[in-house]
């Protein structure tokens, strides 16, 4: 998937992946896609909740080898 920015949130625990996602999105334009890589299994539910509450679209999420990859389109 195409993305304009990547956030490495590996090793960070709640609530840092969400806070850093928020910060990363702040510097982006509407419609651009952010890729987030996290190792915090709690971030799976939290990213969904973040997307739902902020209106940014969670395009996809996947898990591979203990890493969680999210693609989020800025509102």
């Amino acid at each position: 998937m195409d993305f304009q920015k990547e956030l490495d949130a590996r090793g960070l625990n709640c609530p840092l992946p969400i806070l850093k996602t928020k910060k990363s999105l702040a510097d982006m334009d509407s419609g651009q896609v952010l890729k987030v890589v996290s190792t915090d299994c709690g971030s799976v539910k939290d990213m969904q909740a973040f997307a739902k509450q902020t209106g940014n679209e969670l395009l996809s999420q996947s898990e591979e080898g203990g890493e969680y990859v999210f693609f989020m389109r800025k509102k």
């Binding site: 090793g11 625990n13 709640c14 609530p15 973040f50 902020t54």
Partner: protein, 155 residues
């Protein structure tokens, strides 16, 4: 309309310092307008120097310990510092933000911190001990905002 959250932070221990800062920073990231009112021991969390924010195994039976420890051992000098150091190392190892980091993330996200003026006077704290960018107020100040919130918590 923007959602709002208010928190009253009354505790000044390392473990109880986390919930207000985690919830406030996250709510702000979700677009909430957030205020935290710090009173009594919670005021410690607004000090520039957070080294007095510690955790004690004493009277804290739920605290996981590496080895079972009788209460009379927990009372020994240095146990509090040791428990604090161990907890801080664990937090760091697990990728949990430090209190300083979470606090500054709150401030960057425009979370408003209010120090209870009455307890500042009661404990004879100096305003110069506290971080910049905070306000001082009383119960009525808190109620003005709290009365219109969607979430209001006492920690």
């Amino acid at each position: 309309m923007t959602k709002k959250m208010a928190i009253i932070a009354t505790k000044g221990t390392l473990d109880m310092a986390y919930p207000p800062f985690i919830l406030a920073s996250t709510a702000a990231a979700l677009g909430y307008d957030v205020q935290v009112f710090f009173t009594f021991y919670g005021l410690q969390l607004l000090k520039k120097d957070l080294s007095d924010v510690k955790i004690s195994p004493l009277a804290n039976p739920a605290m996981p310990m590496p080895v079972p420890m009788p209460v009379f051992v927990q009372m020994l000098p240095g146990m509090e510092s040791m428990a604090t150091m161990m907890m801080k190392n664990k937090l760091k190892k697990k990728g949990v933000a430090s209190l300083e980091e979470l606090r500054s993330l709150c401030q960057e996200a425009d979370v408003k911190f209010i120090a209870c003026q009455m307890t500042v006077d009661l404990f004879e704290f100096e305003k110069s001990d506290f971080i910049d960018g905070i306000e001082y107020g009383g119960a009525a100040t808190f109620m003005e905002f709290a009365g219109e919130t969607d979430i209001c918590l006492f920690v």
